[in-house]
């Protein structure tokens, strides 16, 4: 906690900002990358979104008001950047978010940076058929093992709503995979 406070202070100080920013990137690049990758699915898009995320963090550092944890603030920016990026790409191609995700998930076996087996592929396909909100909640809970309290802060949802959403998502995934 103190370490995080120190980092935030150094990020806000023009004299120490550059070095602090490098530390920030080193500390969070992996976890943010895989969080974004879970949403965007392919590496190239995820790389773009990760860069956009850190640039936005750099620009909006003054807006961080410490009402939320720094970690959840970072994840919120990353989630919004990823979802907006995917939505824009979907619209450009004439798809809804869900239809676009289903298409991308269906092509995962051809993706260079997907090493999954048959079960992993089916799970990704099943997830892609869920509504956008259920996809996000499921991925954050199941793959990333975030606590409900953390997901609630990141997505702006109630914990009760999250639990219901996750339960629904699991039920639908099980049905989809059984039918595949």
């Amino acid at each position: 906690m103190q370490k995080e406070k120190d980092l935030i202070e150094r990020l806000r100080n023009p004299n120490t900002r550059q070095e602090a920013y490098r530390e920030l990137v080193q500390a969070y690049q992996k976890s943010l990358y895989f969080h974004i990758r879970n949403i965007a699915l392919n590496h190239d898009d995820s790389n773009d979104i990760l860069q956009n995320t850190f640039i936005k963090v750099f620009e909006k550092m003054a807006d961080f008001n410490e009402e939320s944890k720094f970690f959840t603030w970072l994840y919120r920016i990353a989630t919004n950047e990823a979802v907006n990026y995917v939505n824009k790409k979907a619209k450009r191609n004439g798809f809804t978010y869900e239809n676009f995700q289903t298409q991308i998930a269906g092509q995962l076996t051809a993706e260079t940076y997907f090493d999954g087996d048959d079960v992993q592929y089916k799970l990704q396909k099943a997830i892609s058929m869920l509504p956008e909100r259920q996809q996000l909640v499921f991925k954050m809970k199941y793959f990333e093992e975030l606590k409900y309290e953390e997901i609630a802060e990141i997505l702006g949802m109630s914990i009760g709503g999250l639990k219901s959403t996750y339960h629904l998502a699991v039920k639908k995934i099980e049905e989809f995979v059984t039918r595949m």
Partner: protein, 139 residues
């Protein structure tokens, strides 16, 4: 009889994603190179006394051309309709939908409210056939 897939009964399934070799080693420099380009300083402009005359003339010409273009624009400009604006923001803007929503106040929201007058029967039918109905109820 098909055996039902049960997620809790499975060993933990990972997403299956990998990254190019050395990606996380090189990512920071990739990012800082991009930041350096975004934040390039303005190169100060220096000129010799003789050049200033030509530059002044060029500036006056540019001003006259801009003024005539501006007056022409004023004559021909039309208000952009909502659909065109929405499409532009969707495909070109780096601003997110959340950022746009945060800029709207009560009066703006009232202005963009549409009165659709959809018959209740049609609404019920649409909701009955919507796969996301349960999520809407939770939200």
């Amino acid at each position: 009889m098909e055996s039902k897939f049960k997620l809790p009964n499975q060993p933990k399934i990972s997403p299956g994603f990998s990254v190019p070799e050395g990606y996380f080693e090189t990512f920071p420099e990739q990012l800082f190179d991009r930041l350096a380009v975004n934040n390039s300083p303005v190169i100060p402009f220096k000129s010799k006394p003789k050049k200033r005359m030509y530059l002044a003339a060029a500036a006056i010409m540019a001003g006259l051309v801009s003024l005539s273009l501006y007056m022409n624009y004023q004559k021909n400009t039309q208000e952009v309709d909502a659909a065109t604006l929405e499409n532009y923001l969707t495909y070109h803007a780096s601003i997110s939908e959340e950022d746009i929503v945060n800029l709207l106040d009560e009066k703006d929201l009232e202005k963009i409210t549409l009165d659709l007058n959809i018959p209740v029967q049609d609404l019920e039918e649409a909701l009955k056939n919507n796969d996301n109905i349960e999520q809407y109820l939770i939200d």
